[in-house]
């Protein structure tokens, strides 16, 4: 279970962007978080994935309270989350080829012995063809790059997925393909999902339940 308990967070001292927000995701459940632009839903997603230290409140992952944020979080807790961001251009290191991009989490965890096959397996899951793997981010489209980012998020087999406006930059067919990739991963592993977005139709179709930001904030 992923519990966000009374989270208050912001980027400047004394000016919280979100205040006292609580949200729970059951194991294997997919929760869609709907909200207008600028309401703080991405901040909440970053807190959930241990990427932003909240001013107050706690995050409990499968019964264990988060031990820290960003680098201070224990590696096992950090890697329990697969994170996909809105803009693939910004979330891909421009110097890495797509194969290196996808393999990066394996290497960061000292598992560089296994990449080749694994990278190909996960690339296939998100629908990336072999010939794209040798290219760098500027040589592929936004959609192809986002596919690589999803593969990178899945490759460590995280128990939780946080997708922050994952499909906002993509066309309908890529959106469908990536949602399908995420869902087939979830049925296989039973991972939970927190999907943040503003597209009510998409999140209603995609998730077990959707939560409206206005109901959380009150």
């Amino acid at each position: 279970m992923l519990e966000l308990d009374a989270i208050t967070a912001g980027y400047e001292r004394g000016k919280p962007v979100i205040a006292g927000i609580s949200l729970t995701v059951q194991p294997g459940e997919s929760v869609g978080l709907l909200g207008p632009s600028g309401c703080g839903k991405s901040t909440l997603a970053r807190v959930a994935a241990l990427l932003h230290r909240p001013d107050a409140g706690r995050v409990v992952i499968d019964g264990t309270e988060a031990g820290g944020w960003r680098h201070r979080a224990p590696r096992a807790q950090r890697t329990a989350f697969g994170v996909v961001f809105q803009q693939p251009r910004l979330s891909a290191d421009p110097r890495l080829t797509l194969a290196d991009l996808i393999a990066e989490p394996l290497r960061a965890n000292g598992r560089s012995g296994e990449p080749a096959d694994k990278v190909r397996e996960f690339a296939a899951r998100v629908g990336l063809t072999e010939d794209l793997l040798g290219r760098r981010p500027h040589e592929v489209s936004d959609g192809q790059l986002q596919r690589a980012c999803v593969a990178r998020a899945l490759i460590l087999r995280p128990r939780w997925l946080v997708c922050d406006e994952m499909t906002a930059m993509l066309d309908a067919s890529t959106t469908a393909a990536l949602v399908h990739a995420v869902e087939s991963y979830r049925t296989e592993t039973g991972a939970g999902l927190l999907a943040v977005g503003h597209d009510r139709v998409l999140l209603n179709r995609w998730c077990d339940r959707t939560v409206d930001w206005s109901t959380l904030a009150s």
Partner: protein, 291 residues
């Protein structure tokens, strides 16, 4: 019928571009010539630059001695080439060392942030508050005259601006989502710094190193001119100008003029090339010589 004329801005742009190309070409040719001269002349021309010929002392420029001779009859052209060689070597090594120090310090400050950042940047402020040359003099004064004290002195006074540039660049890279993705993938601080941040700042650091070479050459010259740098018998651009002071007062202009030109022309050429590189890295910023 209205006549169709070239818009004024376009004509201006063309002229600006052509002067720029001209500047880059001149800089490249001079830099290349200087590079070849300092690399090839000493091994190919088997002449002793230290050879004293008191019979031929203080001769004005002639065919036998294009730059004339100094007060003990040494050929000044040869001395200038040897001097440039020493000065460039000192400048190059000092610039590389300074850039390595600056990059490491700046990257550490930017990547670790918080208390480390504040401590390091206050240290940079502290160093910056003392004039470069004064600090450099203080450092060379602690050693016997020689090449290494000068290299150390110039390197230790020139890493500050690189540290600032690299820190700012790292801070901006650190806020990119790909760093978040790396953290989420379990990357350690060191891994994020080495794999994702450092490669992003290397072009800037390389540029800083090249821009620093002229500055370092000037510093070497200044220290040697003050008699604190290289020992006087060792030809360097600074020592040449220094030992020419006496003759200048007697009206002999060539021992000062030629080494002086050797200080100015090659360093401006290198700076010109570095400026072109910087324009490629950051085309939006209008380039001017940052020295």
């Amino acid at each position: 019928m209205a006549e169709i004329t070239e818009p004024a801005w376009r004509a201006r742009g063309v002229r600006r571009r052509s002067t720029r190309t001209w500047r880059i070409r001149t800089s490249a040719v001079i830099t290349l010539a200087v590079g070849l001269a300092v690399l090839l002349v000493p091994p190919l021309v088997q002449l002793d630059e230290q050879a004293v010929d008191l019979a031929a002392k203080l001769q004005p420029p002639s065919l036998a001695h294009p730059f004339g001779t100094d007060d003990v009859g040494r050929d000044l052209l040869l001395r200038c080439v040897y001097g440039l060689r020493v000065s460039l070597l000192v400048g190059l090594v000092a610039a590389v060392v300074a850039t390595v120090i600056g990059t490491a310090v700046g990257a550490a400050a930017g990547a670790f942030g918080g208390r480390v950042d504040r401590l390091v940047m206050r240290l940079v402020d502290l160093f910056s508050s003392v004039p470069h040359l004064l600090l450099g003099i203080f450092i060379v004064a602690m050693f016997r005259p020689g090449v290494w004290p000068v290299v150390i002195s110039v390197a230790l006074t020139h890493w500050l601006s690189t540290a600032r540039i690299v820190r700012a660049e790292v801070l901006s890279l650190r806020a990119r989502p790909y760093v978040d993705a790396a953290i989420s993938g379990g990357a350690s601080r060191v891994r994020v710094a080495v794999r994702h941040l450092l490669p992003g700042v290397l072009p800037q650091a390389g540029l800083a190193a090249v821009l620093m070479v002229p500055h370092a050459v000037w510093h070497e010259s200044a220290l040697s001119f003050l008699g604190l740098g290289l020992p006087t018998h060792q030809a360097s651009l600074g020592t040449l100008v220094q030992s020419a002071r006496g003759s200048l007062l007697a009206g002999d202009w060539w021992p000062t003029l030629f080494p002086g030109l050797f200080i100015i022309v090659p360093t401006l050429a290198i700076a010109g090339l570095a400026g072109a590189w910087r324009e490629r890295l950051n085309p939006r910023r209008r380039s001017e010589l940052m020295l």
